[in-house]
């Protein structure tokens, strides 16, 4: 088979957005993932958006069972999975029914013709066949009998028809790979590796993939062939990575940088479980993973490990953070390092477990009993989850405090190319245990005060096994200094102030606020977390048109970076796009008395760049008018 990566007759485009949609059992996530990997290796910039139902196997053929994977591939730097797909691969009627409204006007539909039979149409809720009722007028429709053709190429291989049908996603992948001039070798190699030892499966998938590829040529789909040149990304070595993997590796990197063993206490929960899975693989780094009996035990075990001197982590999603609240309060009181990772999802309650949302910010800030301030760090892109994880661990260890690290379902599962850092250049994490008594008592004997503080108000971390430093910590208020139980009102006031002050002071060690775009701009977009991609995309388009806009992205949500208030006050308009009903905007208004305005989306999906672009344009024209 020839590699058509640079087919001479292909039409060059900057970017395409392809959406693979099918039944949960159709392997759409895998198909999208392979297409992405081939594009990554080819050198495109890309961003993905996997979307799958909460049910493992919803009834086949129904709308509830539709699983989709959207990817934007580009020859230019990009930061989102695209505003709207230009190509929709629909493996069954339900996929077409649920996802057609996302397709760009005039877009292309590649449909598995065999699946559009009466029963499936009915299950999807079609009264008439959409191929015949004119509802697809205005789109380019390519009907391909994928199931039948896959069965046919598999038959001579001795593969049973039912088994052969399972390979039809590889047929689709082959066809789309041909249309988008993707190299075929990475996929063929991957099939051979992934299914090693299962020769029949390798043969069927390979045959289906090749048949799909060949179909493009023979069916004269040549006019649809498109090529997307490699992007000119900064030079270096890249890998394609999703947020949860990057975050897991960041935790391991922090453990290496700090020279401390990593302990993870976790309870399975979507969309955070993959971090537990990933870390459980890397025991050779000294990583201890503990799958606890519940969320509370998970955080409690982590705090126990932190008391023992480990870099302690607990990973969860919003409902789990709610359950962990009391224990996190204890960690605030005991001033022990701990990182709580919240991969946010749609809420409240079970909400939309597989869909993204960023509505836990106020819980991260205030969702505990008592006055219990703690740092909050948010990741902003899939690959940047690596850096955010290191930063959260650094703050936890250097300042002996629990830290909330926020990511979300979109970052967790989406992927993008990551310029691999030089591991020698990773930030150092400066941490040490107390080894000596730090006070002298009235009798002149050396004693250890667990709540004696350094100039940054950080208390010493004395771990069990250290002679002479035996001490007791716990949730009852402790005396400032000696750390004995104290009910003294003045002491409680002082300790409360110190707990707030020591977190606020972290800002002095952080970089000041960074304003991107034009500093004197009329409008500033202020974001946190995963809105970064869409804001970047909007900024690129707006500044390309010469519009006067700025962007501040807040990674440290508590404490805020120094200079944020002044920066915000320098703009005529501050717009805060959030995947919630307006949480950061409340904080900014309360903290800085600025008239920041929220733009909110709570639909289980990230913003698109187009949505934000149009809001800014509208604002600018209002301001002029």
């Amino acid at each position: 088979m020839t590699d058509l990566a640079d087919a001479p007759n292909a039409r060059d485009v900057d970017r395409v957005v392809i959406r693979f949609a099918g039944d949960s059992g159709d392997g759409m996530q895998l198909t999208g993932d392979r297409f992405t990997s081939a594009s990554a290796l080819f050198g495109n910039d890309l961003a993905t958006l996997p979307e799958f139902p909460a049910e493992i196997r919803a009834p086949a053929g129904t709308l509830a069972g539709v699983s989709a994977f959207q990817v934007q591939i580009s020859s230019e730097p990009i930061s989102t999975p695209g505003d709207e797909p230009t190509v929709l691969v629909a493996m069954n009627p339900a996929a077409l029914m649920s996802d057609l409204n996302r397709l760009a006007a005039g877009g292309t539909i590649i449909a598995n013709d065999d699946a559009f039979e009466e029963r499936n149409l009915e299950k999807a809720g079609y009264v008439d066949n959409p191929f015949e009722d004119g509802s697809l007028d205005g789109y380019t429709l390519i009907r391909v009998p994928m199931t039948r053709l896959t069965r046919e190429v598999c038959e001579p291989l001795g593969v049973k028809p039912r088994d052969a049908e399972r390979s039809k996603n590889f047929f689709a992948l082959g066809l789309v790979s041909w249309m988008y001039t993707r190299p075929t070798e990475p996929t063929l190699e991957w099939i051979a590796q992934k299914f090693a030892g299962r020769d029949a499966v390798i043969a069927a998938n390979t045959a289906a993939f090749k048949a799909g590829h060949a179909y493009g040529e023979t069916a004269e789909l040549g006019s649809h062939v498109v090529s997307i040149a490699p992007a000119s990304l900064p030079p270096g070595e890249y890998t394609n990575i999703n947020g949860n993997t990057a975050l897991s590796w960041g935790l391991i990197a922090a453990s290496v940088q700090a020279g401390l063993p990593l302990f993870l206490g976790s309870y399975p929960i979507t969309p955070a479980s993959d971090i537990l899975h990933e870390l459980a693989k890397h025991k050779n780094f000294g990583v201890r993973t503990f799958q606890a009996e519940d969320e509370i035990a998970a955080v409690s075990a982590a705090i126990g490990a932190a008391y023992g001197g480990h870099l302690a982590i607990t990973t969860t999603s919003g409902p789990g953070v709610a359950l962990k609240g009391e224990a996190i309060g204890l960690a605030v009181s005991m001033e022990l390092p701990l990182v709580i990772v919240d991969i946010q999802r749609g809420g409240p309650s079970t909400g939309l477990p597989t869909k993204t949302e960023a509505s836990d910010l106020l819980m991260a800030m205030y969702g505990r009993h008592g006055e219990s301030p703690m740092p909050v760090v948010a990741a902003h892109s899939p690959a940047q989850c690596f850096d955010a994880a290191i930063e959260a661990c650094r703050i936890a260890l250097e300042y002996k405090t629990p830290v909330m690290l926020l990511s979300d379902g979109y970052l967790a599962n989406s992927s993008e190319p990551w310029l691999l850092p030089d591991v020698d250049s990773l930030p150092a994490i400066d941490v040490s245990y107390a080894t000596e008594p730090n006070q002298t008592n009235e009798d002149g004997e050396p004693v250890f005060w667990p709540f004696a503080r350094d100039e940054k108000l950080v208390r010493p971390w004395a771990v069990p096994g250290t002679p002479g430093l035996m001490h007791r910590v716990g949730g009852l208020e402790k005396s400032d200094g000696p750390g004995n139980v104290s009910y003294d009102p003045a002491n409680h006031g002082r300790m409360t102030d110190i707990r707030a002050e020591r977190i606020d002071r972290i800002a002095d060690d952080l970089p000041d606020v960074v304003v991107e775009g034009s500093p004197g701009a009329k409008v500033c977009l202020v974001g946190w977390g995963s809105t970064w991609g869409a804001i970047r995309g909007a900024m690129r388009r707006l500044t390309a048109d010469g519009l006067d806009v700025a962007h501040i992205h807040i990674q440290h949500l508590h404490p805020f970076p120094n200079g944020l208030g002044e920066a915000l006050r320098s703009f005529d308009r501050v717009i805060v796009p959030e995947l919630n009903k307006g949480q950061l905007v409340k904080l900014l208004r309360a903290e800085f008395l600025v008239d920041a305005q929220g733009v909110n989306k709570v639909m289980g999906q990230p913003f698109t760049a187009a949505e934000l672009e149009s809001i800014v344009r509208q604002t600018l024209s209002e301001m002029e008018g």
Partner: protein
């Protein structure tokens, strides 16, 4: 870790903090038993950690001059599990009451026991909520009149030993606060046991449930009401060892030895893999008003969790070599731009 401090005394194991239980509380005698026993174990204070939840019993760590965590209600076994997994070198004790361990923390207790993580769990059972001033607890008898049950409680109580045996515990014992020597023996056995140990300590709350155990633990009643379990010995009790226990169709039953003959008595075997007989013994008394077994119900060898975890780490390191961060970042396909 460090060299064991060879000679310590009770004073070395006590903190300078004023002990704040009600005068006459059974917790004092448990604390004394512990402080007196620790010097004999040959373990150093810095390698010892006491972890508690919330409740009267949970103040225990503040009085032990070791490392300690006074954690949150019910979760002490979970904190201890994390610490034990992270630091298998430490000697870890968990202290809590019946509300702490069997109500709000019941889940953590049973999971610590089934995992068999090497911690010694002391459950001070006073059959009442003390620190919240006298509500019925998960071990209170049915019909208990308290502030929260003025018409009598409706709840069937837990039998802590039965719960522990049902939760796959590898070591289960019971003792009471009126017998220092017996407490110390049980604590020592728990400490020696590699894995999770549960010791139920009947503890008098003289403020809210005074005399709850008098029927069995008053000196004059002990011979007739306490059934001492001794491994390898027929189970007998009474001033003249005139009563005993036989198995009858799966039930443990109290008999007069004269009626059945010595040979018919159950010979106590705490190491029996099948927990059925230990469980049957735990059912002998519906509450501390009937002849009640004390001693070690069960002590079986079973893989310990934290050391198994360490072994997995060691073997992963042996197979894959020590972690290499640069290689990890390149473990998926990479390309160069």
């Amino acid at each position: 870790m460090t060299d064991v401090e060879t000679t310590t005394t009770r004073k070395d194991w006590a903190t300078d903090q004023e002990v704040r239980w009600c005068p006459g509380c059974g917790d004092y005698s448990i604390l004394t038993a512990m402080q007196l026993m620790m010097p004999e174990l040959g373990v150093s204070r810095e390698d010892t950690v006491f972890i508690s939840g919330i409740g009267c019993a949970a103040r225990f760590p503040y009085y032990m001059n070791t490392y300690g965590i006074h954690s949150i209600h019910g979760r002490a076994p979970a904190f201890a599990t994390g610490l034990a997994v992270a630091r298998p070198d430490l000697s870890i004790w968990v202290v809590g009451g019946d509300g702490d361990m069997l109500s709000i923390g019941g889940n953590h207790l049973i999971h610590a026991l089934r995992r068999n993580v090497n911690v010694n769990i002391l459950l001070f059972n006073n059959m009442i909520y003390g620190l919240t001033k006298g509500q019925y607890s998960p071990t209170s008898e049915v019909g208990k009149i308290t502030k929260s049950s003025p018409y009598g409680s409706l709840d069937q109580p837990f039998n802590a030993v039965s719960v522990a045996i049902g939760a796959e515990a590898s070591f289960v014992a019971r003792t009471h606060d009126m017998d220092r020597k017996h407490m110390q023996e049980m604590f020592r056995r728990a400490w020696e046991h590699p894995g999770a140990s549960l010791v139920e300590v009947y503890q008098n709350c003289n403020v809210f449930n005074d005399g709850a155990f008098d029927t069995i633990s008053k000196r004059a009643n002990r011979d007739s009401m306490l059934i001492n379990l001794t491994h390898g010995e027929p189970i007998k009790f009474g001033a003249d060892a005139e009563r005993g226990v036989v198995m009858d169709g799966g039930d443990a039953v109290i008999v007069d030895v004269a009626d059945v003959g010595e040979d018919a008595l159950v010979v106590h075997d705490e190491r029996r893999p099948n927990p059925a007989v230990s469980f049957a013994l735990s059912r002998l008394a519906a509450g501390p008003t009937e002849p009640t077994p004390i001693g070690v119900f069960r002590a079986v060898e079973r893989g310990e969790y934290a050391s198994a975890n360490s072994a997995q780490l060691a073997s992963a390191q042996e197979q894959a070599g020590p972690g290499d961060l640069a290689a990890l970042l390149r473990s998926n396909p990479t390309w160069t731009a």
